[in-house]
Amino acid sequence: MSDAATSTHIAPTRTEAFRKRLAKRYAAERRFKLAGLSAVLVSVAVLIFLLGNMTFNGVAGFQRAELDVTIDFPSSGISGDANSLSGPGGLQTLQIQGLPDVVAFYAEQSLGSEAAEGLSTEAWRDVAAAVIKDPALLQGTHQFSLPATDNLAAALKGEGTPEERALAERLEAEGKLSNNFDPGFLSRADATSPQKVGIWGALKGSILTMIVTLLLAFPIGVLAALYLEEYAPKNRWTDVIEVSINNLAAVPSIIFGLLGLAVFLWIFPNFRSAPLIGGMTLALMTMPVIVISGRNAIKAVPPSIRDGALAIGASPVQVVFHHVLPLALPGILTGTIIGMARALGETAPLLMIGMRAFVATPPDGFTSPATVLPVQIFLWSDEIDRGFVERTSAAIIILLLFLLVMNGLAIYLRNKFEKKW
């Protein structure tokens, strides 16, 4: 033993073995960071693929194949003015005067007899709608872009028989057939032809259903959470209730649909397919999510705030509504929006209560038959006609935009109510 070895203390953290262990620790950290980064990259890539694919397909879904038809109204014998065309009888007035035949006649004039076959038989309704909106059109000659038949639309996309494809190519070359943006997609409801479908019926159905869900689930969920956290005694019964609510949140959604079918439709047998029943069913599903997140948010309010309020003589109700609830609200809203987003995307329970019906007119109110966006997507994706593929993508874009708006609103509200302490 040399003197130096005994007299100089060498810390164990300066040895070679320690340096090796240290290098291993750094390597482990790098591996962990890399794994995390690749996980993020994979999910971002999936998201970009999904959105890109949807947008690519969906853009075509907002378009429809239209034929250009020129109609000379003064020589067609159709007459009318703002008075006779306004009101519910306007469409009938035009139909009795032979507008469908007039449209068919001018289609032959403009396009030739072979191509006129490619004009949708319902195309005259578009003309009628334009005329009712602006009766002055009847005074002159005007060009309309009218929907083509499904077959011609498919031929324009390169499908169908060689003859149809040749016709579509010729008309396209002449500038008489083209895919145009179809604003009617946002205002019509379901139809049997992809050329005539619209998303407004399902969108309105979804909005009405969500309103019912929110109005039922939010107050019931928040009050239940408040009672369980602030008032309920801690005993076996409240334990049972707590476990039940947690289980309820995990119940498969189709079972809620069966419950809605068995209970709500038994009480209100006339409201089959109605947003009211759909909303009630989805509220059952959303409520436990709100209760659970609400309880967590209420638990997170510091007890010192409660003590402070109680100590200056606030009653328990005042403590809850003046202090606890405002502080818990951002958390409750976050939970609510998670529950609502889940409800918005639900298909299964609504199938059980008849919201998968073919509904060709947008719902008038909470009790008229309706469908919702995800069910509409499910129905369209099931159609044989290829034209529905793009329409389905377009419907998905609308659903995602709806979700985005809802989430945006929730984030705005949360930031608005968020306070620091």
Binding site: P233, K234, P302, S304, I305, R306, D307, G308, A309, L310, A311, I312, G313, A314, S315, Q318, H322, H323, L327, K419, K420, W421
Partner: protein, 263 residues
């Protein structure tokens, strides 16, 4: 074991009186047969080692223990001769009469103005906006905070420094004009300068209120209080003039504690 009461402690008509009070948390007894008279316009200090039950006893005086489901209080506590634990006692009114300041400053996450105005508003103590403004100004002035915050009454109460927050909490307590103020280690989270300000404030508040203060700092008890009670293991060991407790303790445990032999 009986509490030793210093013989020279004059009997004053008490604001609050506790007789044979025991507090239990479930099966565990936290306070064992404590009897004490708390006079008006005096500062009474409770001292003792951690876990001796002084905070528990303090919280029994305005029934803050009610919020703990397992807590149970036996014996009687009177406020102006009225048993505060009798059935039919209005707890809300009791807490408006017996205010409390906590160990950690707990201003509401609202504006400074709202922090003070909240109490008077829920109790309907101010009829008009002008009256409320006046109550806010008076309370903040009494708490020695007015000059520091008068230009930013609409800032959040939580944006203030720790010492200012605690004075805000004291202002909040006196805004409802209570008769007794309970303080649970009000300076334990504060620096010496903020502590000095609070102690000054406590001295000024004795012109109007009975103050009970729980403290870990014996110097603080000696500085601010006129009477001191020493708690140990859930019992009140000794009660007397503060000067007597610190210079002439009778019980050996009191002596050991104040000389720092245990704590």
């Amino acid at each position: 074991m009986v509490t030793v009461i210093h013989p020279n402690l004059e009997v004053i008509d008490p604001k609050m009186r506790a007789v044979d009070v025991s507090v239990y948390y479930g099966d565990k007894q936290a306070i064992d047969n404590v009897s004490i008279d708390i006079p008006a316009r005096y500062v009474t200090a409770f001292i003792g080692p951690s876990g001796c039950g002084k905070s528990t006893f303090l919280r029994a005086l305005n029934r803050m223990n009610d919020t703990i489901p397992s807590a149970r209080v036996e014996g009687t506590i009177e406020l102006d001769g009225e048993d505060i634990y009798r059935s039919g006692m209005d707890v809300v009114q009791l807490r408006a009469r017996v205010g409390m300041v906590f160990q950690k400053p707990n201003p509401f996450p609202k504006t400074i103005y709202e922090n003070i105005a909240y109490g008077p508003r829920i109790h309907g103590l101010a009829e008009t906006k002008e009256e409320l403004d006046e109550v806010v100004q008076r309370s903040l002035t009494r708490a020695g905070l007015w000059d520091e915050v008068k230009d930013r009454l609409n800032d959040s109460g939580t944006a203030l420094s720790g010492g200012q927050q605690q004075r805000l909490c004291i202002a909040r307590a006196i805004a409802v004009d209570p008769e007794v103020i309970l303080m649970d280690e009000p300076c334990s989270a504060l620096d010496p300068i903020a502590t000095a300000k609070i102690e000054e404030l406590i001295a000024e508040l004795t012109d109007r209120y009975a103050i009970v203060i729980v403290t870990h700092s014996m110097q603080q008890a000696a500085r601010v209080s006129q009477r001191t009670a020493f708690f140990h293991l859930g019992k009140m060991v000794e009660y007397g003039h503060t000067s007597d407790i610190f210079t002439n303790p009778i019980e050996v445990r009191t002596k050991d504690y104040i000389t720092g032999r245990y704590g």
